[in-house]
């Protein structure tokens, strides 16, 4: 192909871009964790773009629901239809509010039940690339968030903070391929490590002789010092036994990661020991 001819300007440009990327990758592979300042800066700036986009989409939806839809019905039967449409919109808003209240009530119940110091946050964006399972929440360092803080929801463990900026933070979801957590089955107390597969979870390093069966609940063991002990991760969905070896165990997460809206961030840092209940007084959760 003539375009790939290195003697041409395009060819040189292509080579320069490829070599540039390879050099960039090489520096990170050597140091493992890349360039945090640039990463933090880019993430911080883009979090604002995500916040604005989310807010813009909400406004467009509001304009559509509250103006164009009503305008169309007004043409058919202006007075009656407008009234019905307004009632419907009102009902939808009430339903949305009720649903939101239920969700927040669940979070509040959880906050009251857990002795950990937590703060509530809303999910404002998903992952920039489908190959990684991350999410962006609307709280950051000014709310006390720090890297490696656990993120939970009433359904179970969500993930951990990996990059907090002042007004937003990036969460690595537990189902991300690079995520892992120490875990234990509630019935047989079989210990292992839960790792993400991109869409679900795998329970690794479990002895082939361990007492486990399909349907067993799996919870955090707290052994890695990030996730608080005893929070639900999921249920064992399938087990592939190998004699004398580890079993291939698939876990169905209890958290519905595709519809996360609000979460709780555990403000206690790594190696947490559950603090006293009265430590919760300065919580800023919604």
């Amino acid at each position: 192909m003539a375009l790939l001819d290195i003697r041409q300007r395009t060819g040189w440009l292509f080579m320069a871009v490829v070599v540039g990327h390879i050099l960039l990758i090489s520096t990170q592979v050597a140091t493992r964790r890349g360039v945090p300042v640039v990463e933090a800066l880019t993430f911080g700036v883009f979090a604002e773009v995500q916040r604005t986009t989310t807010s813009g989409i909400g406004s467009v939806r509001d304009v559509w629901q509250n103006y164009f839809a009503l305008q169309q019905t007004r043409q058919e039967n202006q007075q009656l239809r407008t009234e019905v449409a307004q009632l419907r919109v009102g009902l939808q808003q009430e339903r949305a509010l009720a649903e939101q209240s239920r969700m927040l009530q669940k979070l509040l119940d959880m906050k009251m039940e857990t002795p950990l110091k937590t703060t509530a946050a809303y999910v404002i964006a998903g992952a920039a690339s489908p190959d990684f399972r991350t999410a962006t929440i609307d709280k950051g360092t000014r709310d006390g968030l720090k890297p490696d803080m656990a993120v939970i929801s009433p359904a179970g463990v969500v993930g951990r903070i990996i990059l907090p900026t002042s007004r937003a933070a990036k969460i690595q979801l537990l189902i991300d391929r690079d995520a892992a957590a120490g875990a234990v089955t509630e019935r047989g107390r079989a210990q292992g490590v839960v790792v993400g597969t991109g869409t679900s979870l795998r329970f690794d390093h479990v002895s082939g002789t361990a007492d486990i069966k399909v349907g067993d609940r799996v919870a955090t063991s707290g052994i890695e010092g990030i996730y608080p002990k005893g929070f639900e991760i999921g249920h064992i969905e399938s087990i592939e036994r190998r004699a004398g070896e580890f079993s291939v165990i698939i876990i169905r997460p209890t958290v519905e990661f595709s519809s996360l809206e609000a979460v709780l961030v555990v403000l206690t840092e790594s190696n947490l020991a559950a603090p006293a209940a009265d430590d919760r007084s300065d919580d800023e959760g919604r």
Binding site: M1, L3, L4, T10, L13, F14, V17, V18, H21, I22, L24, I25, Q28, V29, G34, V35, V38, E39, T42, F43, F46, V49, Q50, T53, T54, I57, A125, G126, A127, A128, S129, P130, D131, F132, T134, A135, T136, I162, K170, Q172, D176, R177, D178, T197, G198, T199, F257, S258, S259
Partner: protein, 168 residues
């Protein structure tokens, strides 16, 4: 003007990817709107634009994700360049060749992306075929819809303008 258009398209794709794509089919179907945009730019603007758009978009995606900075950028640069070069060598204006191009570009991107991670020993991808096939199909459908809308838009506007003039 052309550069600004490309930048806006990438920015829009990234914003939509992070805000809308997670809701598509329960958030499990991995449609890469940024890759769709890169392929579109490559097919319409040529290999250099495709490569630079792929490089920029991939690097931003890498930054916003948890992966190694540059792997997505390199994979998307190569895909952008090759798709642009193929677009210049062959006529890819009919629906089927475009569909095949999106499928091929997604497969190539995933092969490069996953291959680099595996070669560097950073990640493993046990049985990724279903995920790749789903993403390839999703990207192709979204790409075809995007092409149809963008190509039909000037004609629709023109017809409305003529219709308005004839009424006056």
């Amino acid at each position: 003007m052309r550069t600004a258009g490309v930048l806006i398209a990438i920015g829009l794709a990234l914003a939509l990817q992070t805000t809308l794509a997670r809701f598509v089919v329960g958030g499990t179907t991995a449609i890469d709107l940024v890759l769709v945009t890169v392929v579109y730019i490559a097919l319409t603007k040529g290999p250099v634009s495709g490569m630079l758009a792929g490089s920029l978009a991939g690097l931003i995606q890498d930054q916003l994700s948890t992966g190694v900075l540059g792997i997505g950028g390199l994979a998307k640069s190569i895909v952008g360049f090759v798709v642009g070069a193929i677009g210049q060598q062959f006529i890819i204006s009919a629906a089927l060749p475009r569909f095949v191009t999106f499928i091929g570009a997604t497969a190539a991107y995933q092969a490069l992306f996953m291959g680099l991670y595996v070669v560097l020993g950073l990640r493993s991808f046990p049985s990724p075929w279903k995920a790749i096939a789903t993403q390839a199909l999703g990207n192709a459908v979204v790409g075809m819809i995007a092409f149809t809308i963008i190509e039909a838009l000037p004609g629709v506007i023109e017809r409305r303008r003529i219709g308005r003039r004839s009424r006056h």
